[in-house]
Symmetry: C2
């Protein structure tokens, strides 16, 4: 790929579009735009320039300029991604949506919230709740992530068991296309069979098919009560095997999370807070929600029964704040143990979670590398953080690809895939080349070429052209 | 578009692929493949040849042949569509999936059913229920439609309020691409962010981007109880305006259907069965489901309250069989009144249903043409059957396009679209050209050209190349 550099003329043009104050070229100011949450120097790259546009029209002008000059565009939300999607490895213009941070409308009649892409996910949730609604998207990074980034990566999170991933929360988007045109896909509609569903194609395309400039989010009536249960099991296998039984009971839980013992201990050390049975326990956290308290209590009793039959040491009503704080600290806690680590986002058929967790334990032993696991267990989404700790960086760089190759060879052998919610980005682009069905990969590349003929929109991410 | 004709050599090659018995060229045998449920001679066209393949490999060979010879392929399910998607207007090979009618697997652990495309929707529902599961797709044509057709058109139906359209029921598909290659998209996964979501792009593409040869369907635990309420209102406006209040109450109903008085009368006449308050009533049918009977009863009381406050004449526990028979007879009943009619499938933001229904009444009066309305009211999906009755065909052919133009000009002015669940097919292809956002339309065309460079896959449907 032969891209041109950002020169002074381009910077001048960018300043004409967004104003002098919103074009950054100072390395100190650009440093925080040089990486996301993926650790290690190979996932960092200083931008040539960062622009902070105010609206879709400005973004359209920037993209038109990039096409004219054949310069990459790298869209960026809050930089909380785990796939290095927003890092400008091939140079070009980083387009941050941070100034496009307004909630435009809460349409109560249609139960739709319309936002700009730079609104924090947590703010979407809070504003929805103030109006008596639930916004069901709930990635662990919700306090800091932007809603536009959630849509671009099809973020998952804890409530996906009941409500699905971000894909299911979106009824429409406005985008700037790779050619610099603006269009709305979908809208305030509950259903739509009016031609190809480009909305769903765009969701999860990680800024490679366009920049999201507006989002139409589905709201729903907020259930009155939520209860969290914590079931503690002596082994990870017993914990994970209880999950399908809970799902098959007819309860539709809000969340079903698994934490392996080593992950619990890591979070406990990081937070300096004692967690229940942390010496030997493996956790299943189950949340149920609904309007009727009695029904919830019956569901909790049923879950208690199921867990007891599966040899739980104890099932208790959880100290919600504490247990979710622990669960959500997983990434940070692993980083505190090991400045460099590889966060895997394996997804397998739910029936295979127990096998997958066991396989990770075997691989961890084989390579002598610690792997901490948690899982959105009912979704089949296993987060495995592979920790470098004190290993020599050269050995790490040699072993990690072998280890990941072994992991994904197994994952694909049991019907799984590379990513449940973090996306492909730059981090998994070589793995996708290796493991995806070649016909599917060809189709993805054909779609990319068709919509972005100059390959300027986040090039080198998701697929290689 | 310059397509070649099916000649004797092509027929011979087709016979080599699928066997002599499964290639039809006799006009009498092909007649039933010359139309779908769209009425009128202009929506009929006799196929050049019909093939009945047994599996994906045979379909791949047929598509490869079609590419070699530049002959259109027209995929066909049960022919129950309302958009003339499966009619071979440009000639070519009709590929019927009727022999691919096997349920391949009911995977209880992962709650996934794997089927061939030619299985009837009703059979999917029945087999799911036998295993204690719910398959939530439920188009009105379910007794006769094929599941592959449901996926190809993103069929909606009565349960979409709670469960969404077919799009939400599918976790994966196997397809034969327009180039004659076979690939699986998605699988037995609950979530997936592994590259572009081609599964969702294919769903609802009406056979223009490939032929579906296998479907992975989501199952869920079957709720123990369902209750149907029938609320009767003196005016259609009062009926429709009660709907958002039911949704906002926090009840998540399974169905919320609206039937206007003229539609009730038409169904009553067709079925020769007296329906409650059919003299003046307009219906809202609400179904609620759940495991706990007491909760359901409370929900029914709340719905009763809401309807009473909105001036319902009566709210009663419905005679379910009778009321659903009436609702589902809508299309047939209209056909019995008027052999030729135009079934519109308008979708608008739910808050606009009342305005939409009123607008249809005004337009009906203006043109002196009867329009019968029912609606999946909570989804904003208004079915309006425009009846020719005894009108002279030439006048009808002149007036109908004007009437439809007026309808969709209004629909787009209130944020609506052409189709909620029937699709674009051939019937709405000109309307899409006229009403879709030009940038979106260009994107759709670019995707089509990229995936089907010879434009052989159901050409002339959805979009015009």
């Amino acid at each position: 790929m032969n891209f041109n550099k950002v020169d002074e003329k381009v910077v001048k043009r960018l300043k004409e579009v967004v104003g002098d104050n919103y074009v950054l070229t100072d390395p100190e100011k650009m440093e925080s735009y040089s990486h996301d949450e993926v650790t290690g120097d190979k996932y960092k790259k200083m931008p040539e320039v960062v622009v902070l546009p105010a609206n879709a029209l400005e973004i359209a002008s920037i993209v038109q300029l990039a096409n004219e000059k054949i310069i990459p565009i790298v869209p960026r939300g809050a930089g909380t991604g785990y796939a290095a999607s927003s890092v400008p490895f091939l140079g070009g213009i980083v387009v941050s949506t941070e100034r496009m941070n307004h909630i435009l409308e809460v349409d109560e009649e249609n139960m739709i919230m319309v936002t700009e892409p730079g609104v924090r996910t947590g703010e979407v949730q809070t504003v929805a709740a103030k109006h008596g609604y639930l916004y069901a998207g709930d990635p662990c990074s919700g306090d800091s992530s932007f809603i536009g980034g959630n849509v671009a990566t099809n973020a998952g999170g804890n409530k996906a068991v009941k409500y699905g991933t971000t894909r299911q929360q979106v009824s429409g988007i406005e985008i700037v296309t790779p050619k610099g045109e603006i269009t709305t896909l979908g809208g305030k509609l509950k259903k739509d069979s009016t031609g190809y569903c480009l909305t769903q194609l765009m969701i999860g395309s990680e800024g490679t098919l366009g920049i999201i400039t507006k989002v139409y989010l589905k709201l729903m009536p907020k259930p009155k009560n939520v209860m969290d249960l914590l079931a503690v099991f002596p082994t990870s296998q017993q914990a994970v095997k209880a999950v399908p039984k809970i799902i098959h009971s007819g309860i539709m839980p809000l969340c079903v999370e698994f934490m392996a013992n080593n992950s619990i201990k890591t979070c406990e050390n990081f937070l300096q807070e004692k967690l229940p049975h942390s010496d030997v326990g493996n956790y299943i956290i189950v949340s149920v929600e609904g309007d009727n308290e009695q029904v919830l209590e019956e569901q909790c009793m049923l879950i208690d029964d199921i867990c007891s039959q599966n040899k739980a040491l104890e099932t208790l009503v959880a100290d919600s704040e504490r247990i979710w704080k622990a669960r959500k600290s997983f990434g940070e806690a692993d980083r505190a143990c090991s400045l460099i680590f590889s966060a895997e986002d394996i997804v397998v058929p739910p029936s295979q979670v127990a096998n997958m967790v066991e396989k990770m334990q075997i691989i961890s032993k084989k390579y002598g590398i610690a792997i901490n696991c948690v899982a959105h267990a009912a979704d089949g989404n296993v987060h495995a953080d592979i920790l470098k700790e004190n290993m020599d960086i050269e050995i790490w760089n040699e072993l990690l690809p072998k280890l990941r190759h072994e992991v994904y060879t197994y994952v694909y052998s049991i019907g799984g895939k590379l990513s449940g919610e973090h996306g492909i980005g730059y981090k998994r682009v070589h793995l996708l080349e290796e493991f995806a069905n070649p016909v599917e990969l060809k189709m993805m590349k054909a779609v990319k070429k068709a919509l972005d003929p100059n390959n300027i929109m986040n090039p080198g991410k998701v697929i290689q052209i």
